[in-house]
Symmetry: C2
Subunit: 375 residues, 2 copies
Amino acid sequence: MPTIQYTGRPGVLDLSWGHPHPDALPVDGWAAATGAALRELGWRALTYGHEAGPVELAQWLCERLAVTDARAPVPAEVFVTAGASHALELLSTQLVEPGDVVLVDAPTYHLALRVLADRRAELVGVPPDPETFGETVTRLRRAGRRVALYYLVPTFGNPTGASLAGDRRRALPAVADRLGVTVVEDDTYRELAYDGPAPPSLWALSGGAGVVRIGSFAKSVAPGLRLGWLTGPPALVTALAGRGYVDSGGGVNHTAAVAMAAFGRSGAFARHVASAVERYRAQRDALVAALGAAGVLSPVPAGGWFVWLAAPGASALLPAAEAAGVSFVPGRRFFAGGGPDDHLRLSFSMLGPADLAEAAGRLAPLLRAASPPPS
Amino acid sequence: MPTIQYTGRPGVLDLSWGHPHPDALPVDGWAAATGAALRELGWRALTYGHEAGPVELAQWLCERLAVTDARAPVPAEVFVTAGASHALELLSTQLVEPGDVVLVDAPTYHLALRVLADRRAELVGVPPDPETFGETVTRLRRAGRRVALYYLVPTFGNPTGASLAGDRRRALPAVADRLGVTVVEDDTYRELAYDGPAPPSLWALSGGAGVVRIGSFAKSVAPGLRLGWLTGPPALVTALAGRGYVDSGGGVNHTAAVAMAAFGRSGAFARHVASAVERYRAQRDALVAALGAAGVLSPVPAGGWFVWLAAPGASALLPAAEAAGVSFVPGRRFFAGGGPDDHLRLSFSMLGPADLAEAAGRLAPLLRAASPPPS
């Protein structure tokens, strides 16, 4: 039984893990924030917390989102969660009944597919094109199916690194609202924007109706804290706070939440994110440049942790790649029910520039062999 | 929007809250433990944790349970949770299907009833008498019902403060195992034993088969941490660790878990619990003595936080009690579907001895009037 989830493999530069760089975790800063919250709030930092989260964190979050998004929530629109995965579990418990259809982007975050499948929903992949989305909902409803929600990662997405284009960003929530389908927007990567600000969230563009946006401190601060949040309609926040489990235990991660409020208010959060952005931008640049130098054309994600490479037969490439000392996630795992075997996901989060360049050098010959240049 | 869940009411000595005494929360100790874990483990305290919980906490827990229970688990039997309420939510998601029957003790912890009801189970109250329990299961199965689990708080129980007697403690898990019904044992109050050691858990008596025992640090250390654990069959631990939500987010409260391991290993946990036991024993004694001095016969709970008083028409007493400046929870709330209105629950956890004596003095005349002595 180990301490952490990550397990390294000797000799393999493993670009399959969407985990933070060890040096990007604020070891001293978190001890200081915890100490500050305990000094400031005393016993109130340790007793049962307010069900929707402590006011200190909700208020600071509203201020932060006024900077990083196009619309700031009010505290009544905020529910503090025990991480983004917990938020998705909680939302699916609240919104999805067994046998429902859950629509998901194609491709999308592969472990979100597992969270949703645990609810015994049928997952149907649909790209975030408003017209296709609307047609799919209509077709499913004609067949007597209930469509519970639409899940996507529209900003610096996992696995593609891409963001939904502006016209679709505006149209999609409008169509979903008209059809009465809740959009669940996984906005985990908003703080990791490398080439200018992140685009406005679907939640902001929707005016707060019909979209629930999941945020997280896992990428911006530290995943082990298991601390995240969501913004959504006040009635949903009230419903989540009223679940028996939340009423019984109080705020779902109270002590970490008040420590994060201290981390935010002290300025440590902003400094830490700025430093993480520098780090991950440099890592992205190193990976993209090394791939390019080795003859592999790569998209340049404007944020987040992932590069999505065209790679015909990606699954079959994996054993050869691992034999060459590099690993990745085959792209078809990011589709509900499996998808085309023509891409792979590289994560540049865990390794420094030199390791990423070496990894690109190991991978590129295999990719070039798999995709011969057009003759 | 407040910081914490508790809301005080001016002029009311409120014995309805099962919350810790503010002075019993280890404000300095928790800052020290968090700092120690971060110094010792560095980035590994902050990244995604092992799904079932970090080995450091699992091992320490096994050592602690060797002292406080009749059987110590091995780490493969331990799953670290985000509190006892989270454990019950997680177990009900794993074990209960909508429409199932969930058996619950009568009376039992009222908010557990809400957690289980959220799963759309039908709750059926049955006392922990092995014969009645077995007959109830058989009757329900004959009627075509699936019985998902049996929930109870058999040690220093909520709301009664009582513990299941030795002969039933041994027989109940045996009957449940023979019938194939999982017993979910809420063992939240084990550390708060005032008159000698707590009785062995049902989990320990069962030899580990057919019983899942929920433990918590909410009463022994601090509820705001949202940290607990369960002991159960290794196959269940593996199944919980394999849920999409846990695979996606890693250990459900990793940083708090490694800090708790540091708190435990340093000796701070044992010292803190010893001090909390002294405090709560003095509070229990003050309440029971003041009730007795005012002519109200009270049971003397050997652990936990609650006194369960006979009080005919308890619900109707509540407004008069609050007008007199004291509050409680009417007993019928602790029964699935409502129960007899003949008891009330007093919690002695939040108030010091003088306040508890004053509260007893305010309440006793009402109780005496409601239960005239036999003529």
